[in-house]
């Protein structure tokens, strides 16, 4: 009798235990669902703010670039004017230099932000590489002011290239700016354009300080600037070369560096051309015919 009672009691205990556990599991599931829906809401909020952020970026880009373009254009006009005394001309030149420098730095920052956000879209156009490079060189020669570095552009049969002009311009601008910045006063820099094995090559050879082997490994990392001694001698955020590499990655090209300390450096940019050019010319020469001879065409 005693035994039976005990057994009964333990059954009851077991039942209670099961019930308690069931309750526990249930509340766990409820809790899990609550967390889940919280997470979902958070996720939605995040993607919303991501969108707002990228729209904000493209909005302020216009807000900043437009006034800057006016400053550059007008100061250039004043600088070029005939009837100007020397002091005023110097002031105008300074405004122009600083505004151009600011514009260059901003385009780097905006481009880096775009890449970071994964918002990069290449817009291919048929670009006259020679004109673009000459424009950039001219712009930076004016900026080189104090250290008077001469950039010689030579072109060996590389005229047109189907590419994203804006992005390639950023690549060229950063390389030219670096070459001018790190070359000794009065020296010359060679900028050679040519094509090789279906690659467009842009090669920049400077007589600068040169870069040691171990520094060559980090120079394309972000925010690196090679310090000579304890003080930073040169302006800039150290963004340039990492940006060059990132842009070329997107374009399917690459940048190579060969350098010896004290003997200068060579930056060699290569971008594939064959496929793009062929595709482009097929489209422009024969238009739709190339795609649709009207046989077997299905419409959706």
């Amino acid at each position: 009798m005693e035994d039976k009672k005990l057994k009964h009691a333990s059954d009851q205990d077991l039942l209670n235990e099961i019930e308690a556990r069931f309750e526990q599991k249930r509340s766990l599931i409820v809790e899990q669902n609550r967390v889940m829906s919280q997470l979902n809401a958070l996720n939605e909020k995040l993607s919303d703010s991501e969108m707002v952020k990228s729209r904000f970026l493209s909005n302020i880009r216009n807000e900043i670039n437009n006034p800057l373009a006016s400053i550059i254009g007008l100061s250039n006009r004043i600088f070029m004017a005939n009837n100007l005394d020397e002091t005023n001309r110097k002031s105008a030149k300074l405004i122009l230099e600083e505004a151009q420098n600011l514009s260059f730095q901003l385009s780097n920052i905006f481009c880096a932000a775009e890449i970071e956000a994964g918002e990069v879209e290449l817009e291919f156009i048929n670009l006259n590489v020679n004109n673009m490079v000459s424009e950039v060189v001219e712009e930076f020669s004016l900026l080189s002011g104090k250290n008077k570095v001469k950039v010689n552009v030579s072109n060996n049969g590389l005229d047109k290239l189907v590419t994203d002009a804006e992005k390639l311009r950023i690549v060229v601008a950063n390389l030219v700016s670096n070459a001018i910045k790190f070359s000794p006063t009065g020296s010359e820099v060679d900028f050679q354009l040519y094509s090789e094995d279906n690659l467009a090559i842009l090669e920049l050879i400077d007589n600068g300080l040169g870069i040691s082997d171990e520094k060559q490994n980090v120079i394309f990392d972000r925010f690196t600037q090679i310090n000579e001694g304890t003080t930073k001698r040169f302006m800039g955020q150290g963004l340039g070369l990492s940006l060059v590499k990132a842009i070329l990655d997107i374009m399917g090209g690459k940048v190579e560096l060969t350098s010896n300390l004290g003997k200068g450096s060579t930056f060699k940019v290569s971008i594939p051309i064959a496929e793009n050019t062929v595709r482009n010319s097929t489209v422009s020469s024969s238009g739709n015919d190339f795609l649709f001879d009207e046989d077997d065409v299905e419409e959706f």
Binding site: E119, V120, N126, D249, L291
Partner: protein
């Protein structure tokens, strides 16, 4: 940058307003103007979105389903390209509830390509479902590449299967 884009060509047909555009892989294009967008697909996928009410069309061309977190998140990857395309459409004034989709590509052109075409297609279908956009037409899979001509004003896609494989 004095040169103008030559992949936008004014067609010499009866309608002078109409433009032509060649869409390269890893790119996204959307417009309110009437544009005939051409692209060539192998295992890549193009999703054509079209707002039936506002007559706005857009198209992407992605090569791989997911950005794997290494390298750059560009419209080369389906998850990025889908988001991009819809954002671009909405920026142009499209309204989500009127947008419909047509999906093309995803062929199995190379025997050993780890079902890239299929994975690309699954990505498109799942993203569109999540965006609550209906697929009203599709031509996917198979072993042949596709040539597309997409009219952004009418939403009409003309497609032809190509003989040899591309991409």
């Amino acid at each position: 940058m004095s040169e103008t884009g030559e992949n936008i060509i004014n067609s010499s047909g009866s309608n002078l307003e109409r433009q032509e555009y060649f869409l390269y892989p890893s790119n996204v294009y959307a417009s309110q103007q009437e544009t005939e967008v051409t692209t060539i697909l192998g295992s890549c996928i193009s999703v054509c979105l079209y707002d039936e009410k506002n007559k706005i069309g857009g198209i992407n061309h992605y090569m791989l389903p997911f950005w794997n977190g290494v390298g750059l998140a560009s419209p080369k990857y389906g998850n990025v390209a889908m988001k991009h395309l819809l954002n671009k459409m909405l920026d142009l004034g499209a309204e989500e509830e009127h947008v419909v989709a047509k999906v093309f590509g995803g062929a199995n052109v190379i025997e050993i390509d780890n079902y890239i075409g299929l994975r690309n297609y699954i990505l498109a279908a799942s993203r569109l479902k999540r965006m609550k956009i209906k697929i009203i037409a599709e031509s996917v899979g198979g072993e042949r590449g596709r040539k597309l001509l997409f009219n952004t004003k009418t939403g009409v896609v003309r497609m032809k299967l190509v003989k040899k494989s591309i991409n």
